[in-house]
């Protein structure tokens, strides 16, 4: 079976997961996305069917309430050690070869969980599953795939999911393998204002470096508001608290570093860039047919979209 999907092949949500399918759509619309492959969810299901893991899953299903957390953790740990199918290992090697031939310098990848239930309009699992950054060899890539799989069975993800999805076992996990972008600035943009529900405003948060600091809420980012009818910047609230950024080092590792105080207080986007990000968010909304929540990053002045999903709750 072909476990590794190119973005053009990732046209099935159930095989590519929400994130993988979203990237497939972005690429097909001609939006700039970093080069990527998707490890299909079939590979996860194969791993789950192997004897040691399958046994632990059935033990969890029979476990009394007070042993459930322990049983979930056993499945989690078993997945971190699960043997990989020879076809999958081949695919990983090929994807590595392809991705490392793009761009310049040391190749470094991000492996992002792409759950089949994730990013649907009904329930946002944003940030619940693992992302592994700084993946620099095919072996590390294989282990990162296991880590993403195992995150389905992390105690935190399980607790969060109980409320929205009844069946823990019903979920399946694809993994997006993406060439890392050396981000100068990153952030999130919503094509409508999700707080007030105002459909006439695009709201943007940004910080220096990789986007994790904005997505997780680790720093207070800059806020930009663009009015959709005039495409004018109406609010720029420059945070003086952008004290930490995540950077991609030249050796491919990702590091959290302190930001120089003057830079921490400076706008991370120019007004022109903010309007460009807003234009992109609106274009994606029009193509997707619903208001979107996009993660974007800028490298050498070029804007890449890392993912998009429908806005789950607004107003």
């Amino acid at each position: 079976m072909n476990y590794l999907l190119s973005l053009s092949e990732a046209d099935s949500r159930s095989r590519a997961g929400g994130k993988g399918f979203g990237l497939h759509r972005l690429a097909s619309w001609g939006i700039d996305v970093p080069p990527a492959y998707v490890v299909a969810s079939d590979a996860y299901r194969t791993a789950m069917s192997l004897a040691p893991v399958a046994d632990l899953v059935s033990r969890w299903a029979d476990a009394p309430e007070d042993r459930a957390a322990e049983a979930i953790k056993a499945v989690h740990d078993a997945l971190l050690d699960v043997p990989l199918d020879a076809g999958l290992l081949d695919g990983i090697q090929q994807a590595w070869n392809e991705l490392s031939s793009t761009g310049s310098g040391e190749c470094s990848l991000f492996c992002r969980s792409s759950a089949t239930a994730e990013d649907s309009a009904a329930a946002s699992f944003a940030g619940q599953f693992s992302t592994v950054m700084g993946v620099r060899t095919p072996d590390e890539m294989a282990q990162a795939v296991r880590t993403c799989w195992a995150s389905v069975w992390s105690p935190e993800a399980a607790a969060y999911r109980r409320r929205i999805v009844e069946e823990l076992a019903g979920i399946s996990m694809a993994v997006v393998v993406q060439r890392a972008v050396r981000s100068d600035v990153s952030g999130v943009a919503f094509s409508i204002n999700p707080v007030t529900g105002d459909p006439h405003e695009v709201l943007i948060n940004s910080n220096w470096g990789l986007g994790e600091t904005v997505v997780s809420g680790m720093v207070t980012p800059d806020t930009f508001v663009v009015d959709r009818s005039s495409m004018q910047l109406t609010v720029q609230d420059i945070s003086q608290d952008k004290t930490v950024q995540h950077v991609l080092n030249s050796d491919g590792t990702v590091e959290s570093v302190q930001v120089d105080p003057m830079r921490a207080m400076s706008p991370s986007l120019t007004g022109e860039q903010a309007v460009q990000v807003a234009e992109l968010a609106i274009r994606i909304e029009e193509l997707a047919g619903a208001p979107q929540d996009i993660e974007w990053t800028i490298e050498d002045g070029r804007i890449f979209v890392l993912q998009t999903r429908p806005i789950t709750a607004a107003g």
């Binding site: 329930a123 946002s124 944003a126 940030g127 619940q128 935190e156 607790a159 969060y160 409320r163 952030g187 999130v188 943009a189 919503f190 999700p194 707080v195 007030t196 709201l203 943007i204 948060n205 904005v214 997505v215 997780s216 809420g217 680790m218 720093v219 207070t220 980012p221 806020t223 508001v225 109406t234 609010v235 720029q236 609230d237 420059i238 945070s239 608290d241 706008p267 929540d293 789950t312 709750a313 607004a314 107003g315």
Partner: protein, 549 residues
């Protein structure tokens, strides 16, 4: 590279942020150091509130002059709606310092008896009069005369306010220093711990609210309606439908008469609790939903106080003179300490709420006459404009002006103002930050970014790591540095979220919106200012966190 000291010898001009334009009135203004009073004005002030603040300032100036603390040359102004002030530090001669210390000692000596015999009776008389006035019975010009009368009383109340606060804070500071002298500097203990346990108006208000909660808990009809979780306006009418509900509402109304003369925010645009019972109902609902024994904090702090006192007495036994001085200062501080809360009950809360209530009546009349679009528009007028509109020919341009001011306020409430503007003096690093009055037990409002709409009240739980998860009970307000995805299980049980870091598009904010959980993010120092167990109200619509004492 220049060393740090020589760098500090030069005044440093502070760049003006692009989103916060400043037009200086003269050449002097940009050379002063202006600071934003964020504690009292987390949002841009409405023109009406600004206008009224001239009266409170007048009261302050009078008190400062009388107690030798007035510093001429200070300036105040509104910048984009936010109050900034610049002070010119006075050169202290030895004589002046000596005189000032004598004035402070005298004030500490007299404040307790003046409060009991002079200030409090006068406040009670004034407030009873202000509450009793039948506003509907006045014609327009009589109404405005009464507004002016209220403002004069308000001015006097703020004069009292500043006569009271100084000796209270100074006596507490003096006690704190003496304690450190006896027990050793490393044992320095905040005065509020030494003085905890007084039966202040604040404690009485909390107890009265607790009684309402308990009465609701034991009455199934009332409990059920309060916990139904619907809009509070419906709660009120549903309670009116049953005899038990009506009886309980009677108690609520008498609670509001006693303790409801307080505005829900630091601007007159926010209604008083007595005007809109939803504030109290919300607080009661969240306490009812929380099954925690919330007040055990009071007991443990009292134990701590007794422990500190015992220690001082044991250590001071060998230095009888010092101990005698400590006991004397302790008695004085103990007498004055409740004033720290009580003056606020009468002045900051009730006097202000009553000024709001009469001005709200002016707004209703202006709207009924068609001068302004809605009663709330009145908050966008100055006192002079409101007087003219009510009693003379209204300015025909008043409506567009109101609209413009409303838009300006909307625009700037979304911008975090810079803490400082102007120029840092050369010795800025050396300036000792003005000793901030102890905030632990004082009501205040913090500002952040509105991240998820709605209002939620409850007991604050400061959660620094997942180790603290256990202490969070249903209905509590989660206060944290930043929330990682693994914290989201807590979102199901808390009634609101406050975080120090994070933007409105961060993961925690997204999830809060999905859960319909009111949230304010980017609240600077929230985890150090808010203490565990304090009742707080979070407005996820305005981005404000009201911390109750």
């Amino acid at each position: 590279m220049p060393d740090t000291e020589s760098k500090l010898a030069e005044p440093v001009h502070i760049p003006v942020p692009a989103n916060f334009p400043v037009t200086w009135a003269d050449d002097v203004e940009p050379t002063l150091l202006w600071s934003w009073d964020e504690f009292h004005a987390p949002l841009p002030r409405t023109p009406m509130t600004h206008s009224v603040s001239e009266y409170t300032r007048h009261g302050m100036t009078r008190a400062m002059k009388e107690t030798g603390r007035y510093q001429p040359g200070g300036r105040r102004r509104l910048i984009n709606g936010y109050p900034y002030s610049a002070s010119v530090p006075a050169e202290d001669t030895g004589d002046e310092k000596e005189q000032r210390q004598q004035a402070i000692d005298a004030a500490i000596e007299n404040a307790g008896s003046r409060w009991l015999n002079e200030w409090r009776p006068e406040l009670e008389r004034d407030l009873a009069y202000m509450k009793g006035v039948d506003l509907a019975g006045f014609d327009d010009s009589a109404l405005w005369s009464t507004v002016e009368q209220f403002l004069e009383l308000h001015k006097k109340h703020w004069y009292f306010h500043h006569l009271i606060v100084m000796p209270v804070i100074e006596s507490a500071n003096r006690l704190e220093k003496l304690y450190a002298e006896i027990a050793g500097e490393e044992e320095r203990s905040p005065a509020h711990l030494l003085l905890h346990g007084a039966e202040t108006m604040t404690v009485k208000a909390i107890k009265a609210l607790d009684r309402l909660v308990e009465d609701a808990r034991v009455s199934p009809a009332v409990r059920e309606v309060l916990l139904a979780g619907e809009d509070v306006s419906q709660t009120y009418s549903r309670l009116e439908a049953t005899p038990e509900g009506r009886a309980w509402l009677g108690q609520l109304n008498s609670y509001l008469q006693d303790y409801g003369y307080r505005c829900a925010g630091f601007d007159l645009i926010f209604p008083a609790w007595v005007e809109e019972p939803r504030f109290a109902l919300q607080m009661i609902r969240s306490q009812l939903a929380s099954d925690a024994g919330k007040r055990n904090g009071v007991i443990s702090v009292t134990d701590e106080r007794d422990g500190l006192l015992e220690k001082a007495r044991a250590l001071g036994a060998s230095r009888p003179d010092l101990l005698a001085k400590f006991e004397q200062h302790y008695r004085q501080a103990q007498e004055l300490w409740p004033l720290k809360e009580d003056h606020s009950y009468y002045i900051d809360q009730a006097s202000t709420a009553l000024v709001r209530i009469i001005l709200a009546e002016v707004g209703r009349r202006l709207a009924a006459k068609g001068v302004i679009g809605s009663p709330e528009d009145a908050w966008f007028l100055s006192l002079e404009e409101a007087a003219q509109a009510l009693t003379a020919t209204p300015d025909p341009n008043i409506r567009p002006a109101i609209e413009q001011r409303r838009q300006d306020r909307e625009r700037f409430r979304r911008v975090t103002p810079p803490k400082y503007l102007g120029t840092f003096p050369p010795d800025h690093e050396a300036i000792n930050p003005a000793s901030e009055p102890d905030m632990a037990e004082t009501a205040r409002t913090l500002r952040g970014t509105a991240a998820s709409k709605g209002e939620g009240s409850g007991i604050a739980r400061v959660v620094m790591s997942p180790d603290d998860f256990d202490k969070v009970q249903k209905g509590d307000v989660l206060v944290c540095r930043s929330t990682a995805p693994m914290w989201t299980p807590l979102f199901e049980i808390v009634s609101a979220l406050v975080s120090e870091a994070g933007g409105v598009l961060s993961h925690p904010a997204v999830v809060a919106r999905e859960f319909g959980l009111p949230a304010v993010v980017g609240v600077a120092n929230a985890t150090s200012i808010i203490t565990d167990g304090q009742p707080v109200t979070v407005s996820g619509t305005d981005g404000l966190v009201h911390v109750n004492p």
